[in-house]
Symmetry: C2
Subunit: 341 residues, 2 copies
């Protein structure tokens, strides 16, 4: 039988209360008893039983990581990496993360995640856009909540975001520094805050570079930013704009489709058209040529939100923090100096 706090108490000749205090690093315990208890703990290889502790203290040591099915499966490596980043950081903080996937059409009255209703978590991390209904429902549980890669309408929660605006600027700066003057933008779902911000960055950088923005050079009405939509966006773009020398794709997935179309049209990357993506997904590396992109530190995003959560859990909360995680230009082979023509 695994030892309990009682066994430790007996062995150290103290009460179980004292053992509990030692475990929680209570300072009023004298050095000697503390040592004695710690020795007993070690000798017996004692570890408190999580469920018992949970019942008594209402702390479970678990956190929920909520992401919609859609997000998780469609841009799977992305949110998986955020999850893993949070997971790694959680381990430092002695937490476990319960991955909780919900439907993206969740609405009031739907069954809530089991780990929440059974109060098996101490806090909730939302990753990516989640339905407002589930946020409202979960607010009733009065658990600390934090958001990553999504900016909830109610602003009173800590949130970790990608610096999409800066990323968009960096992409365009890179291209304009290479001499490009006809820089297009392709995107899907321009309603999405992240994509909108990248678009803003695109426009501002264009302006900074003394280039004029033309709506004809922006394909922003694709349904969602996936490979196939990159292909069709590129098709439409090139049909109407023969003079494009560089394309900024709102993400790598679309960029892959764009590259495919360019190749099929007999356009060489980067000799004829430079192409840059956003996200730095693995597949970009295997492209021919390897894709220049804006690197998003996904693990970092997860780690950061976990740190915010830990702060809340330890009541170290200042005001709800907003963290913008910086992105980084990754130059590979799909971008090059504009051809002198």
């Amino acid at each position: 039988m695994t030892p309990t706090i009682k066994d430790v108490a007996q062995k150290a000749k103290v009460s179980i209360a004292t053992v509990s205090l030692v475990i929680h690093n209570n300072e009023k315990i004298s050095y000697e008893t503390r040592m004695r208890v710690n020795k007993a703990i070690k000798d017996l290889n004692y570890h408190p039983f999580r469920s018992a502790r949970g019942l008594a203290s209402r702390k479970t040591g678990n956190l929920a990581f909520i992401v919609t099915e859609d997000h998780f499966l469609r841009s799977e490596p992305f949110y998986t990496h955020i999850f893993l980043g949070a997971e790694f950081e959680a381990r430092q903080n002695e937490y476990y993360i319960l991955l909780t996937i919900i439907r993206s059409d969740f609405k009031q009255g739907d069954r809530l995640p089991r780990c929440i209703v059974e109060r098996n978590v101490d806090g909730i991390i939302f990753a990516g856009k989640v339905p407002q209904d589930i946020i409202s429902c979960l607010e009733k549980y009065e658990l600390p909540m934090a958001f990553v890669d999504y900016y909830p309408p109610a602003e009173n929660y800590p949130v970790v975001l990608i610096d999409n605006f800066s990323g968009g600027m960096q992409a365009v700066q890179h291209l304009s520094a290479l001499g490009h003057r006809h820089i297009a933008f392709v995107a899907g779902d321009i309603q999405h805050p992240s994509i909108r911000d990248r678009f803003q960055g695109y426009k501002v950088a264009l302006e900074n570079a003394g280039l004029s923005y033309s709506s004809k050079m922006s394909i922003i009405d694709e349904a969602y930013p996936a490979r196939e939509n990159g292909y069709s966006a590129a098709k439409r773009l090139l049909r109407d704009n023969k003079n494009v020398t560089a394309i900024f794709s709102c993400n790598d997935a679309m960029a892959i489709g764009v590259m495919q179309f360019l190749k099929e049209s007999g356009l060489r990357v980067p000799e004829d058209v430079s192409l840059i993506g956003f996200d730095d997904v693995d597949a970009g590396l295997s492209l021919d040529p390897p894709l220049s992109t804006i690197g998003v530190p996904k693990l970092e995003l997860g780690g950061e939100v976990m740190r915010l959560m830990a702060d809340m859990l330890n009541n170290k909360v200042k005001s709800p923090k907003k963290v913008l995680v910086p992105v980084e230009l990754i130059k590979r082979k799909s971008t090059a100096e504009v051809k002198i023509s």
Copy 2:
């Protein structure tokens, strides 16, 4: 305050024991009381408190998913997908999975995962090769254990494996059906059971096709099966064997390196050399040409091991099962009929 079993009992005018019995679908409860209790549960929106239940019943509703850092990070999407497969299946079975990453040099005496020592899991799933030391240490906890993608020395545990042998055969059959008679094999870490089995499949299929096996056509001494080692393996292979028309790489990662070398040597894929990998990783799709490969249903692997675990947990265990998950030939553009020469 969230309702407890007491509140339900009061509202339904029964004892808490009755409520508990209803919750556990005990059949001796009369239809009427069952209805009454269920109504009270619904009205109050009652959910048992997991920690309390855990303390009383010693069941936590959690499972540990243990994988080494090495495996998880090196072939990250692979084990991530197994994890996700297990996770999806777990949800069907009302379990949560605690992802638990350990060092691959774990040895007796090292700190064990917290979720285990705190008895916060009901069972353990091992994914990929894990150090024997941790298996021994964890055996003391007498938790149900199951393995996926690794065949532990002690054979008394349920295990889920890829049908690597069949995969190796299928790859070679595919190539020989295309007329290839000089089919090479490249691998790293031939000690690894999975790779060894693929190699066996290669040899047997060769024999079946009436082709002779030559050790010169097998590069099996690379340190581990990664991209860079595929590159160097291909280099050595092509140096000594000018007549190779097809290469079976033990996995996609190496195949990517192989393809890179082939291209740099001015050899066209598949016109000059056909190339097939194993695993079906995403990157293979983005290669030019897209990589033919043997598809491994990673989600399925995870789901299968979770199902075995659920069976053990419900005492539905027959003898420890071994399941071989079938693989599937995926024909893409990197393999083609041999050139008539």
